[in-house]
Amino acid sequence: MTGERTEQAELLSGGEMLIRALRDEGVKIIFGYPGGAVLHIYDAIFHQDHVEHILVRHEQAATHAADGYARATGKAGVVLVTSGPGATNAITGIATAYMDSVPLVVISGQVESRMVGTDAFQETDMVGISRPIVKHSFIARNAAEIPLLVKKAFHIATTGRPGPVVIDIPKDTTDPRVKAPYVYPSEISMRSYSAPEKGHPGQIRKAVDALLHAKRPMLYSGGGVIQGNAAEAVTRLARLLGYPITNTLMGLGGFPASDPQFVGMLGMHGTYEANMAMHYCDVLLCAGARFDDRVTNSDVKKFCPDATVVHIDIDPASISKTVTADIPIVGAVASVFEDMIAEIERSKAKPDADTLKIWWDQINRWREKDSLRIPEPENGLIKPQQVVKLVHEMTGGDAYVSSDVGQHQMFAAQYYGFDRPRRWINSGGLGTMGFGLPAAMGAQFAFPDAVSVCITGEGSFLMNMQEFATCMQYQLPIKVICLNNQALGMVKQWQDMQYGGRYSHSTYAESLPDFVKLTESFGHVGIRISRPEELRDKLTECFALKDRLVFVDVLVDPDEHVYPMAIKGGAMKDMILSKTERT
């Protein structure tokens, strides 16, 4: 921090400093909810118009909205909540962002310093509660250090493997009567923190060599490619080599889904060809993914038995955590891919065309299974997969699509077909129901003219539906497509498959609200679709209402399952393909 400017520096209170620092950091929008401990800060917000504050209706939604904003833009999302329940309500959203490595800066109020530790009204140990689910956290000790803490928080949240950072601010440090000179540091360096950038050249050469000599190569890219803005580099490398590529749930859009080299999503509900190609590959290049148990299936010993594993990740702790990497590369994915492309071009080597053709012929035979074919509608019921396909068609495949968690999430991931990064916004790691609507709000605030769609289920939607009020206040024209199967579909599917169809607490059809009336009561437009033949017309009607929030309650086949599905305890090649077919 430079001290020379202190003489001319403006005197500001801690609350004013916080808002000024956010402005100097380039923050345009913050999501929050006021309360006693943050009232000085809210007064500072009132006196300026550079940083827009969005009033949500629940602190969990503030974090999800900031998260959706961050995923759609690549910038840090900012949250402001009060102490105690405000802070604890934010926890689920912080954990969601942490699991998916999303940059967030969460500012929580705290009781006055002298009251900390006395069980004061609305006191909670926010730094303690959030410790396992943040990248780092700070407590402000006085007003003067607030700008530096803000600078550090943004630096830590957005560099390296991104993640949420909490700044806990006791009320006395924002007292409007206590002023200090405001200086915003232009740069920051921390002796205990630096983010890896370039990958090791020797490791990159080894990786390129392994890839070029592969007989059955496979590229597997994850959320790190999206977060690290590496989709373009990954796409160029994949096309340069002509190799098959799969994306994880978090990595969809990292490579265009409409490209013939894309074999679909992999993992528990991945395509037949993606999972088969994974199992039988001899060189696996994993970029910005972490061999999650929803990818590898439960027994990692059976995972890709013949593969030499190249693993690129910015976080060394992700490498060899579950699957041992033969060629580990620590670095920013985009930079490593650029170096790999340069190395391939320099060496002028090409993969052997005949060998590659044999591999593609095999993959194309697996493709013929058509594992994502949509079953014919039965008994006049709508298939949820059809709905997602139509949403893709009507949005030109280029909407910001958020989802909640469950069957609808998997259908959206399997059938929307994302061609670009940052369009697919879902809670992959924590699997947070209630994420979809506030995340769609965040994306809509980031891109007011874009189409923001939330594909949800009636169970998840009920978890954060209060945000309909926020959507009305700010006139957000989100399109909520609810695949209503009148049950907790994924729970029910597992109960069908593993618990003899005993639906323990997964159905509630008789107590569901009338979603159309509910939506209308908030001032939005509600549409119900119950027959396959009205699907196209009514969805067209929905997307034609460009300046209104529309909730489409689509009554879908309640007995539909998500397939393919990994067989528990098996290898990636072991899948259930339909209610009657297994590999």
Binding site: R131, P132, K135, I139, I156, R191, S192, D315, A317, S320
Partner: protein, 163 residues
């Protein structure tokens, strides 16, 4: 495999809880832990004993390095090193026992730091094995209290853990 990991970290509130929290969060063991500020007041040095196979230790050190407050760390067991632990022990010693205890203390190069008619308070420094050996040697005595610091250590030769 027993490992001694020594960490230099920011002498900031919350830094210790981040390190300790990591071990419980990720289901790693801590057998002992010792921490104090260094000659540079802005840094603390924390030394801990943990155990696990190669892969587990690698994960532990990677995750420790990921903590923002951790500046640098070393696995002392990876090379030649010196390790020490301090133990204070109070035991009951009366009659002929008293001379016997003093002999044992001398053999282990300990010191009697306090005494009453019926007790001795003894200070002993060395490797954890040596301290265990002392406890075994006086196992006939009634031990009233044991306070051990946990292990701290330093590399042999010119190698240092410093910034």
């Amino acid at each position: 495999m027993r490992r001694i990991i020594s960490i230099l970290m920011e002498n900031e509130p919350g830094a210790l809880s981040r390190v300790v929290g990591l071990f419980s969060q990720r289901n790693y063991n801590i057998d002992s832990l010792t921490v104090a500020p260094t000659e540079d007041q802005s840094l603390s040095r924390l030394t801990l004993i943990t155990s696990g196979d190669e892969a587990r230790i690698e994960q532990i050190t990677k995750h420790l390095n990921r903590i923002i407050d951790v500046v640098k760390l070393v696995d002392l067991t990876g090379g030649a090193h010196i390790e020490r632990e301090l133990m204070l022990i109070k035991l009951k010693a009366t009659g002929a026992r008293r001379a016997e205890v003093l002999r044992t203390v001398e053999i282990f190069r300990g010191q009697v730091v306090d005494q009453t008619d019926s007790t001795y308070s003894i200070q002993l420094t060395g490797t954890s094995e040596k301290l265990d050996g002392f406890l075994a040697a006086i196992s006939d005595c009634k031990v009233l209290e044991v306070a051990r610091t946990g292990v701290t250590g330093i590399s042999r030769g010119t190698k240092v853990l410093a910034i």
